[in-house]
Amino acid sequence: MIRLSGIGKTFPGAELSLRGTKLVTQGPALWVRNLARAVRLTASPGAPVRALEDVTLNIAAGEVFGILGPNGSGKTTLVKIMAGLLRPTEGAGAVAGVEMNHPQAIRRRVSYVSTTGWMGLEWALTAEENIRFFGLLSGMSGALAKTRTDEALRDVGLMQDRHKAVSELSNGMRQRVILARALLLRTPVVLLDEPTVGLDPIHRDQVLALVRETLPARGQTVIVVDHQADALETIVDRAAILAGGRLLRAGTPAELVSGLEGVRVLEMVTRGSGEPRAAIPPQVQEVERIERPGPLGLTQWRLTVADRSDALEAALHWVLSGGGQAVQVAERAPRLADVVTGRLRREVSR
């Protein structure tokens, strides 16, 4: 459904600048910019930003595909390229059977949700009207727009608040309006850039279920970006990890955590504990310690330990050698979230 090969994107410092200064890209200034380009006024380019580098990916039809990575790693840039909103600097690819160089045609085949910015909602209209008018504007019949709107509102849990104007909605409700609008057209590809931001746990689970079940059942291919790796892990068929604009890995969640065989993760919360006095035991490979000195006075520990039956006890003894009590202990297999954070990530990226 989506094929990308060797995609790179450099934001040229020069594109929006004229001798290193910024331009307004609206109205007369846009005109002047083009004029300025024509007469080659653009002398020194600002520092270009390499947002993506050599990304090669294939996403099958009907797949739920996750994208993970730290802030500024190029996730949004990649999604925008898939949406035909941004032209890659290099590389080639196709989305829903349309080659990259036909962005108009791509845009007709994808729905794009970004929860950044105000995303073109009409503030004076109700949630329901915003969605339905979007359908009408996209050429749906009135009846179809109506049934689809109701369905979309139900999908995101907005039935109760559908007659509130956008200006009267709470933050989480507004995010769901944007989401509902993207469900309307049933395009072959749905691109969701951080769809669960601002949603309460119940609606978050509802949206995750929607992504996991409903959309694939409608035959849609879903690309979803989210920082909550634990949530993402439960809904994707495959995921990609980006860092610094490069694709570190892509695969099923199980494949992504492979390479971490032989370790377990030990999460602990202690109360009143100090610096461990004992020597760090060989079973413990990595220690991450977060002090929460505030009113709770707790310390959180996250240890990577060898997958051996004596590891837990050795680690526990070590942690408690500085005094205090363990109020919570959980030992588990590594998860996708562990791959995205801490030393494990560095290991995987090697």
């Binding site: 200064t21 331009l23 200034a29 910019r33 200006s167």
Partner: protein
């Protein structure tokens, strides 16, 4: 980091004036940075000034033949000097009167307005702060208009009354700013977030453009309209400045209806009315603006985010 203990009110009053001034300065720097960073803007700015000023003058040239003999004795003999005052004053007044609403609206939609309210600065500081843009962008046009008129179109001025002229300018600028604040307060008070703001439309776009007399003296209007023209500060400023600056103009000889009725010298009438307008409009502007914010605070329209 320096953090005052909770509940301990910071010594607000002692530092507040210094801080407000520093804040205004920060606004000025911000406007300057923006102005400077949009370098093409500067090119556009020159082009804009050049073209609009030229247009004004060409229009002046066109009506010159018809309008010149209508000027009357009070405003001297040079029609170009007559309209330079009109155009230059309009630049000033347009900025002070029409800009506050636009800039408040823009800052509200950007979401910076509520954060400015949510800070130690006074609610009026942003209003004044935004006006620093005008000093960079609009006020310098005055020199262009004057220079243009004098170099290309033969306008001439006398400078023996510069000080009183400056006084009148300050008065009309502040009364126009009063109206500007009233217009800005309608953003919150009437919840006019988009489209045409009525105060601005009425005073600047309608009355000032049609009746204040940038191109012709009010005497060409029917009597009732002359009275309407007397309701806005522009009319008095044009009258006073032309009498003071235009070659051959007279300080005496009533022109405006109010001048004809009152037993005072015309300039005294202009000064008194402009002074009165300032005294009334500024406090009304301040009050309505504060009211507007209170109202928005009550019905939840102060912030755009939820």
């Amino acid at each position: 980091m320096r953090v005052p203990a909770a509940g301990e009110p910071r010594d607000v009053r002692v530092h507040s004036l210094i801080r407000e001034i520093a804040t205004l300065w920060a606004f000025a720097i911000r406007e300057y940075r923006i102005w400077q960073s949009y370098r093409v803007n500067q090119v556009m700015w020159m082009v804009n000034i050049f073209v609009t000023t030229l247009l004004f003058f060409l229009m002046g040239q066109m009506v010159k033949g018809k309008a010149a003999h209508l000027m009357g004795a009070a405003y001297g003999t040079n029609y170009m000097s007559f309209i330079v005052v009109g155009i230059a004053m309009n630049v000033f007044l347009f900025t002070n009167l029409a800009d506050p609403y636009t800039r408040i609206a823009r800052s509200y939609f950007n979401g910076t307005m509520d954060l400015m309210l949510l800070s130690p600065m006074s609610i009026y500081t942003p209003l004044l702060g935004f006006m620093t843009k005008s000093m960079l962008d609009d006020y310098p046009r005055l020199f262009f208009v004057g220079g243009f008129g004098m170099l290309l179109f033969g306008a001439a001025f006398r400078f023996q009354y510069t000080l009183p002229a400056l006084g009148f300018t300050v008065l009309v600028l502040s009364s126009a700013f009063g109206i500007g604040m009233i217009s800005a307060s309608s953003f919150y008070l009437l919840n006019i977030k988009r489209g045409t703001e009525p105060v601005r439309f009425l005073v600047q776009q309608l009355l000032a453009t049609l009746l204040a007399g940038s191109y012709y003296p009010v005497t060409v209007l029917p009597r009732p309209l002359q009275w309407v023209a007397c309701l806005i500060p522009h009319t008095y400023a044009f009258d006073a400045l032309r009498r003071l600056m235009d070659p051959g103009a007279h300080l005496g000889g009533a022109v405006l209806p109010l001048q004809q009725i009152l037993p005072w010298p015309p300039l005294a009438v202009d000064g008194a009315v402009l002074g009165l307008m300032t005294l009334i409009l500024i406090p009304v502007g301040l009050l309505l603006y504060a009211r507007g914010i209170e109202k928005a605070r009550r019905n939840g329209t102060l912030t755009r985010w939820q």
